[in-house]
Amino acid sequence: MIPFEYRRAATTQDAVATVSARPDAAYLGGGTNLVDHMKLGVIGPRLLVDVSRLPLADVEETAEGGLRIGAAVRNSDLAAHPVVRSRYPALSRALLAGASGQLRNLATTAGNLLQRTRCPYFQDVTTPCNKREPGTGCSAIGGYVRYHAILGASQQCVATHPSDMAVAMTMLDARVVVQDADGTKRIPIADFYRLPGDRPELDTVLSHGQLITAVELPAPPAGARSTYRKVRDRASYAFALVSVAAELVLDSGEISSARVALGGVAHKPWRARQAEAALEGAEASDETFVRAAGAELAHARPLDGNEFKVELAQRTLAATLRSLTEEARR
């Protein structure tokens, strides 16, 4: 590991100014992903600016009936927050499906949004990887692709985003609050993450020095039911092969509103707009759910070795919608 300077940020302004002025600087939150990457040699910042103790650890209800989550809120605290548990159960469930108890106690909201792919070739500095070292090639194509993308990938990169929390937040139309030298801006999460295209090294639209200070969730629609379902190779403590965050509002058997996002299938948390279009206004039936899942996955382009994920995603999506409907009818 390359030697580095360490500074504990006094204020968000101080943090932004310090990192913006130094191209070789990085923010440090809980560190569960960053420290690992520094050990592996994936990155080598010369200055770490610790933002984990900034006063950004509050969860507050907003005037519009939503929730504002500070960037430094720990994953365990967010999952256990009474408002999240009662009004945003998909978010609580997504957080609880991620990592382990001791990691959730360290990991922060902003750090979770910015965690990087678990593609083994990205993490192994002895192999070519366009995301780690642009222009070197993609070792995953033709390699081990069980955890790789089936939607939105490019010839440059087939990695998936590993976060569970971000999938739920994508379904919930979260806004990412970002601070830079020019002030504060809000980025809808649908515009926050990038598909790889020919710049796979960029996960998000953030530029160097921009600091996430909070995430805002709008109020869920009245009568909404939501959940998060994760399919993985073991029952606990593993990344998703496929995951689904879904929310339905039913009005006497008809779906009046539907929001769906998928995890484990793309370079970013995948908002399932095709499925939503097939659901809204339709009868809440098995047939509708299967059709909606089929509509979304019709665009899937699996790799040589992860073809199974197309059907797995379809079935998981339909099953999640079915369970939400059954819950509503009880």
């Binding site: 590991m1 030697p3 580095f4 300077e5 360490y6 504990r8 440090l28 809980g30 560190g31 569960t32 420290v35 690992d36 520094m38 050990k39 010369r46 770490l48 610790d50 984990s52 365990s76 999952a79 256990a80 009474p82 548990r85 009662s86 159960p89 609580s92 469930r93 609880l96 499906a97 990592a99 382990s100 108890g101 001791q102 990691l103 106690n105 360290l106 606990s236 403590y237």
Partner: protein, 171 residues
């Protein structure tokens, strides 16, 4: 390059310890290599096995994925610090009584994680297997297994670890 070393203070098992660390030093390495506190074990060193778990400012946390410099001022309780003199912590007693270890390598992390996990459950925190998110969680075997899933034991002493935690959790 300047300032790549920092003076820090940690409270470890009740004792104030001052040391100077290379900023690259993880909390785990600072404890083991610099302070001689060898209760937290280095297993995978990547946050996946849980053997380096301690109670960090009262909450269970792995020590391999945090830099010591970032924990300046922290209060750390290791498995060795849970006992009061010769009097073992009830969780340690339970692990002994139920034979919750074989090689013992994962044990300090298991014990710290179990103590932290019981506090989380007492505070009403749900887990991945909690059916009703808004209800008070009941500490069933499935709940204990899920909550302890960040701690691996390659000897597979899991049934005894589960029995030990169940015993320690009983009022």
């Amino acid at each position: 390059m300047e300032n790549t070393r920092t003076g820090i203070t940690l409270r470890v098992d009740g004792e104030q310890r001052s040391l100077r660390v290379d900023n690259r030093t993880t909390l785990l390495d600072a404890l083991r290599e610099q302070l001689g506190v060898t209760s937290p074990k280095k297993g995978c060193d990547h946050g996946q096995c849980g053997s380096c778990t301690v109670l960090l400012d009262g909450r269970r946390a792995t020590t391999c994925l945090t830099f010591a410099v970032a924990q300046d001022g922290a209060d750390i309780v290791t498995a060795a610090g849970l006992s009061e003199g010769d009097e073992l912590h009830p969780m340690q007693e339970a692990f002994l009584e139920r034979d919750g270890f074989q090689c013992g390598y994962c044990t300090p992390g298991q014990v710290c994680s179990a103590v932290g996990m019981l506090d989380e459950a007492k505070a009403g925190h749900p887990s991945h297997v909690t059916a009703d998110l808004t209800a008070e969680p009941e500490l069933t075997d499935d709940e204990i297994r899920e909550r302890m899933s960040g701690n691996l034991c390659r000897c597979a002493a899991y049934p005894n670890i589960l029995a030990a935690i169940r015993a320690a959790a009983a009022p």
